[in-house]
């Protein structure tokens, strides 16, 4: 989440971490719904949420709700935004609202809600939702689209009225079949939906869903025929994650070998959706073990959850994370990137046509579309890494776990890869967990977890917060020597008031709890007395993650774990 990018929308104070990561907000009155639709059209591949205030046309009750925009239509006569309800902010007053609502302009009688105020929020990420909305009159198109998804589990919710007595009704169930058939006047679409009994008494019924405008022949039972008004379709409904607060949670996570040796002990941290986490630490500190325990690959005790699902429920949790191994040989090198995407993606029960579509989008976004036809083994290292990330993302996981993606890369390529990961994080809204050996890379992330050998997790928090735990809240006296002198560090550590000194070549950072100016003067005097040439002295040099990492591994500071 990028709290820095947030524009606050309301008068109520909100905690920064609770604000979603949208970056654009626009306000429209109900009369200007056409402008609102234009605003949405310009961002149609993005995820758009809204807050609507208005009047429910059926009961004239005032409503206010938060929702996600499903579709929008601006015709000569029709101006409509279709939304999926997320939160009914006046639930107690108006009773339950439909899950899917059509929003029209102020005074519109043909829509569910006549809006008086609209607040649109554009999330800076791709619209990653699979769900579809059709008007009842578009049932033929719905049937055509659904025929591509045959034999998959597809959840349908249909609002309409029963053919026998015109009674309004809503049915929700799994799609059995979809057909387009020549009707007496025009071709029309039909859906068959199997609805389970609500109270588990009785047997499931199969309803025929028909288009409203055309004559229904005597072939269907009118009691089991629904004339559709609104159709909401969610393919692969079983993939739905339960409600969760943190996308990745480890609580008292402990991994013990059969011999009784504890590889990691009582590891506790959590990240929110959209955050990036860097796991840094020494070799053998348990970074990879932690990742393996988090994805349920090795037995562990404590809590490990991804998207609210216990990692021990391996079959289910695997839909919610993507794993990108360090080794690029974890792809079929004779397959093209797209073939690899399809081969792995199919195991998530995603139909091939959808995988090809998604795969092409990913390859285009990742800049390797033109390499789509070459065997993966013939791509460069960077391109292979991108292909590997594309494979891990094709099923739209909530969390992307990457094991040392930058090891073996030169600084230029490392930098490029991090920009790429940043793009993935922003564009797809995917939380990313990166195991890395380079503490400097942790600066790119929202959160950092530091592991030490024999101590497991010793520090967790945002890079800024961690650095603040250094003396003087992470500020130090920076000294650049004329040339590297191994004596300098020892000498400066002997200066009264100096907590510790970190040296990287000619650069020395002197950490202290004393006033920095005073310590700077003392340091200069000491160096001059020992004839060590100084090029630059900075009284307020900011510590970076490398400094923090060196300090914590040498035991110079105590780690803090952010709750």
């Amino acid at each position: 989440m990028r709290t820095a990018l947030v524009e606050t929308s309301g008068s109520e104070p909100v905690l920064p971490q609770e604000v979603p990561s949208f970056v654009e907000e626009a306000y429209f009155s109900g009369a200007r719904i056409g402008d609102a639709i234009d605003w949405c059209i310009r961002r149609q591949d993005r995820e758009i949420h809204c807050e609507v205030q208005g009047v429910l046309t059926s009961s004239k009750a005032e409503v206010r709700f938060k929702a996600r925009v499903l579709r929008f239509k601006k015709g000569v006569i029709t101006r409509r935004i279709v939304v999926l309800l997320e939160e009914d902010m006046r639930r107690k007053k108006t009773g339950d609202l439909d899950l899917v609502l059509t929003v029209g302009s102020e005074g519109a009688a043909q829509e569910d809600v006549a809006a008086s105020q609209l607040t649109l929020q554009n999330y800076l990420k791709r619209n990653m939702f699979d769900d579809l909305y059709y008007d009842g009159r578009e049932l033929q198109q719905a049937a055509k689209d659904l025929s591509k998804m045959k034999s998959k589990e597809i959840l349908c919710t249909i609002w309409g009225h029963r053919a026998s007595d015109k009674l309004p009704m809503t049915i929700k169930g799994n799609l059995v079949s979809s057909t387009t058939r020549a009707a007496p006047i025009l071709p029309e679409g039909f859906l068959e939906v199997r609805v389970e009994p609500e109270d588990t008494v009785g047997s499931p019924k199969i309803y025929l869903v028909a288009q409203p405008q055309l004559f229904i022949g005597p072939f269907s039972n009118p009691v089991l025929t629904v004339i559709a008004e609104k159709v909401y379709i969610r393919p692969f409904a079983w993939k739905e994650a339960p409600v969760y607060r943190d996308v990745l949670v480890a609580r008292n996570l402990t991994v013990t070998t059969k011999a009784g040796k504890k590889l990691i002990e009582n590891v506790s941290f959590a990240i929110r959706e959209g955050e990036m986490l860097a796991i840094i630490g020494e070799s053998g500190a348990g970074k990879s073990t932690c990742i393996k325990a988090l994805i349920g690959d090795i037995p562990s005790t404590g809590v490990a959850r991804i998207a609210g699902i216990d990692s021990r429920n391996a079959q289910k949790v695997r839909y919610f994370f993507g794993y990108c191994p360090q080794d690029l040989s974890y792809m079929y090198d004779t397959f093209t990137p797209l073939e690899n995407i399809v081969a792995f993606g199919k195991q998530y029960d995603i139909p091939e046509w959808q995988l090809i579509e998604e795969g092409k989008t990913l390859l285009r976004d990742f800049g390797i579309m033109e390499k789509g036809g070459s065997p993966t083994g013939k791509l460069s290292g960077g391109q292979q890494r991108r292909a590997s990330v594309a494979i891990a993302l094709v099923h739209r996981p909530k969390v992307l776990l990457m094991d040392e993606p930058t090891s073996g890369l030169d600084p230029d390529n490392r930098n490029e890869l991090w920009h790429f990961l940043d793009m993935v994080n922003k564009e797809y809204g995917t939380s990313i967990v990166v195991v890395t050996h380079y503490p400097a890379e942790a600066e790119f992330c929202d959160k950092v977890a530091v592991f030490l050998r024999g101590k497991s997790l010793v520090a967790f928090g945002s890079p800024a917060k961690l650095k603040e735990s250094l003396p003087s809240r992470g500020f130090a006296v920076g000294v650049v020597l004329e040339e590297v002198d191994p004596r300098a560090r020892k000498m400066l550590e002997g200066v009264q008031g100096v907590s510790f000194v970190l040296q990287r070549g000619e650069l020395l950072k002197v950490f202290t709890e004393e006033p920095l100016e005073t310590i700077a003067e003392k340091c200069m005097t000491t160096l001059k007395e020992n004839s060590i040439g100084v090029k630059i002295v900075k009284t307020k040099a900011l510590a970076d993650m490398v400094d923090y990492y060196i300090a914590i591994t040498r035991g110079l500071v105590t780690g803090t774990i952010e709750k």
Partner: protein, 391 residues
């Protein structure tokens, strides 16, 4: 509930498609799987053209004898004998009975039959290792110094016993002639191979062996690398695919490969040597696919147990040596013959293609092969499930 079956089924189908695509894209693998076994049929074709043994005709009565053969005592051999000689031209004892007496000395038991059909049935039931027919005119020919012959009927499917039987009969003929020094003409044992389709001896016997060998060990060799050599599989295991699905998919993929390999081999075997097998082509393919199934499961089991490609290679080599040694071609392996998968494959081929039995009549070996396959899949899954995905 249905989804509990359809989803794994779809995942398995996807994995099979992926495996096949991988093999199709790997030209060297294709070469190894199809061209090498086909080349071995070609080599056999060349050998048949070069070797004298290749001329031995099976299933007829005009075989030839005297091609080597050891002179072992044959004390364990049970033979049958039909004495059709009615001539009485020698003044002394009956010569055919005298020959029979020498034969009795060299065998464990000599069963006398009145007609050839009873002896043939006992040979089929493996009660005897062969039977000798002394033709009418045996004594008459010998007394006028004309060469004569005795027919030695042997089981085409009992390759080890053939030389023993032949040696025994030749031994009896030598002893018989040595005891009657006045006989100047020869007694030729004429070898007649029973239960063999029409065609050359080597082409039939060794061709059949190559077909079964390729279907079983060839597929096992390829499958032995399928898990341990499939590095991206580790990543695949982080998808909802479980270990059993992986094993089943791999086995199925290699059975499909084995089917096409068998199709090629059986076609080459039959067409190149103009064989007229005693069963249909379809039955032959079913049997070869079954053998491929056991080969595939054997290979997958090796691959699941092995931790590296080197280990898999070593394990396969020892499995291969063991299988060949215990195949029953070289030594009598006793009760193991009833359980070794390749032996059962050979038995199926012999009983159908050579002896003309239907699939129902050979249900025993079929069930054994299926049981072996299921057992191997379960063990492989168990072993595989104990291994961590990411090492």
């Amino acid at each position: 509930m249905a989804e509990a079956f359809t989803r794994p089924r779809r995942r398995i189908a996807n994995m099979i498609a992926k495996e096949l695509r991988l093999i199709v894209k790997d030209r060297l693998a294709l070469f190894l799987i199809f061209m090498l076994p086909a080349a071995s049929i070609g080599v056999l074709y060349w050998v048949v053209g070069m070797s004298d043994l290749g001329d031995i005709q099976l299933g007829g009565g005009s075989g030839q004898g005297g091609n080597g053969g050891d002179s072992g005592t044959g004390s364990d051999v049970v033979l049958g004998l039909i004495d059709l000689d009615t001539t009485k031209t020698y003044s002394g004892e009956d010569l055919s009975e005298n020959f029979t007496a020498f034969l009795t000395k060299l065998v464990k038991e000599l069963i006398i039959y009145n007609n050839t059909s009873d002896a043939f049935q006992d040979l089929y039931d493996k009660k005897i290792s062969g039977y000798v027919v002394i033709p009418d005119g045996f004594e008459a020919n010998l007394t006028i110094n004309e060469p004569t012959y005795v027919e030695v009927h042997m089981d085409a499917t009992a390759l080890i016993e053939q030389s023993t039987v032949m040696g025994t009969v030749q031994g009896a003929a030598i002893m018989f002639r040595a005891s009657r020094m006045w006989i100047r003409s020869e007694v030729f044992p004429s070898m007649i191979i029973e239960f063999a389709p029409k065609g050359g001896y080597i082409a039939t016997a060794f061709g059949g062996f190559i077909v079964v060998f390729s279907s079983y060990l060839g597929i096992a060799m390829t499958a032995a690398q399928s898990i341990v050599g499939d590095v991206p599989l580790r990543r695949m295991l982080l998808t909802p695919t479980n270990r059993l699905e992986v094993i089943v998919a791999k086995v199925a993929a290699y059975v499909i490969i084995g089917f096409f390999q068998s199709l090629l081999l059986v076609s080459l075997w039959v067409v190149v040597f103009s064989l007229n097998l005693n069963t249909s082509f379809g039955v032959l393919l079913i049997i070869m696919s079954l053998t491929s199934l056991t080969g595939s499961t054997t290979g997958i089991l090796i691959s699941a147990v092995a931790s590296s490609r080197l280990q898999a290679n070593q394990m396969f080599l020892f499995v291969m040596f063991g299988t060949i040694i215990l195949a029953g071609f070289f030594v009598d392996v006793g009760v193991l013959d009833e359980y070794m998968p390749m032996n059962q494959g050979l038995k199926l081929l012999i009983d159908t293609a050579f002896k003309g039995l239907s699939l129902i009549e050979v249900i025993g070996p079929i069930l054994k092969l299926l049981a072996f396959s299921v057992g191997a899949i379960l063990i492989a899954t168990f072993v595989f499930s104990k291994k961590p995905t990411l090492g």
